[in-house]
Subunit: 250 residues, 2 copies
């Protein structure tokens, strides 16, 4: 599946699978950020593209690590399972974001990655990426930035889970999504949730019922409109205030 086949694909555009880093709209956010054209092409040559259908697994806990993945189109969730079977979503990944960095230390994937919708990823064989590092210092430096950013991101999740109340967690979640959509050129106020309420609840350390109640409350307070998975953040500024933990007198 790494090489695009010649037969027509029913749902996805074949030309997208052929396209390179240079032509990818995400290259400013993604691994090739800041590379010169020639270096970008070298990187391009080691990368394979791959489709992942909704609900399909990109990799599982325990799988041998061989590649990192960059989301090209679509969204993913990654989750850990603890010994007693309960699972915890540790992140939602959007286009331009890298998956699999937690596998480097043990050579084994430490979480499951599942597509939230029909998606495409760029598969980056890690050993070949390592070969490039010695030749392209910019690439190495940016790779370190990306891993560091992942550490920072997880720290904010820890902050969220460790000392925010339910409403604050949910507002922070929405504000975060908003910013990430905006960074990709989409509306910061109108978007679709790609994950179920259950996924959101799991991620935020809350139950599905609590998520539903938070949605209803924020709707009642006039901060957002919601219809199924379509969200409109009517008052993003107010949401940001809630997300910072300001007390509201009701």
């Amino acid at each position: 599946m790494n090489q695009p086949s010649l037969c027509t694909a029913p749902l996805l555009d074949i030309s997208a699978l052929r396209s390179s880093c240079s032509s990818c709209s995400m290259h400013q956010l993604c691994l090739p950020m800041g590379l010169e054209e020639a270096d970008m092409q070298r990187l391009d040559r080691i990368i394979g593209r791959r489709r992942v259908r909704r609900d399909d697994t990109l990799y599982r806990i325990g799988d041998k690590f061989s590649s990192l993945y960059a989301v090209r189109v679509g969204q993913f969730k990654t989750y850990q399972a603890n010994p007693d079977g309960a699972q915890q979503i540790t992140g939602f990944q959007m286009s331009g974001e890298l998956l699999g960095m937690d596998a480097i230390s043990t050579d084994t994937h430490q979480c499951d990655a599942v597509a939230l919708e029909d998606s495409e990823v760029c598969e980056i064989p890690f050993s070949r990426l390592e070969e490039l590092f010695s030749d392209i210092p910019t690439l190495l430096r940016h790779f370190h930035r990306i891993m560091s950013k992942e550490i920072t991101r997880e720290q904010s999740v820890i902050l969220l889970l460790g000392n925010m109340r339910a409403e604050q967690r949910f507002a922070a979640f929405l504000v975060n999504l908003s910013a990430r959509y905006a960074a990709r050129g989409y509306s910061p106020t109108n978007f679709q949730l790609r994950m179920t309420r259950e996924d959101i609840g799991n991620y935020l350390g809350l139950t599905i019922e609590s998520i539903s109640r938070m949605l209803s409350k924020l709707k009642k307070d006039g901060m957002l409109k919601v219809s199924n998975r379509d969200i409109e953040l009517v008052d993003l500024a107010a949401l940001k205030i809630v997300a910072t933990g300001a007390e509201v007198c009701n």
Copy 2:
């Protein structure tokens, strides 16, 4: 302070500050892991040693990033502060563990690092470390493992905060400490907590009162003995079961 001065130090052994990676008992756990003697000496040459007194700050949020730090002696805590002032401890670092990796992405420290006791760190100027990467592939590979491990560690904190009950969180915390002391050649069952109950509570997303109650409960259940900060894990196996979330009928 990077160079040991010639005057006698009142509390700490000067010879310790002179010592190199090769003579450091932590070099199997730390950055130089797996390096040949010659490479270890090259790494050694860029590293400065530094003392940090209890409650002193190694770096603060917003500080310009220039060095990573390896804990040589002692322990640290790192915490984030959210906009409204509440803080959240994201980790406790022991000897051989690396601090500051979250600063690489923005060139600015993203958390505060404070010594829990009189400590020593190895200061590793990052730009000079980067120069070594191109010459010592083993070093680069190990650095990636360390960053990846930090990502994995934070994921388990997310799991802990996201779906464990108070008792389970606290048991998991003790079991984790136990394993890390054991890895350093100390007793896995008898050790001293270097942090306050308040720090533990903050880290685990619980109040100080809850931590105190958990201690009392586990003591009553015969799993541990506690006297101030001295802990004896009387029944480590049972603690591990609690940490995995098994339901106990009381």
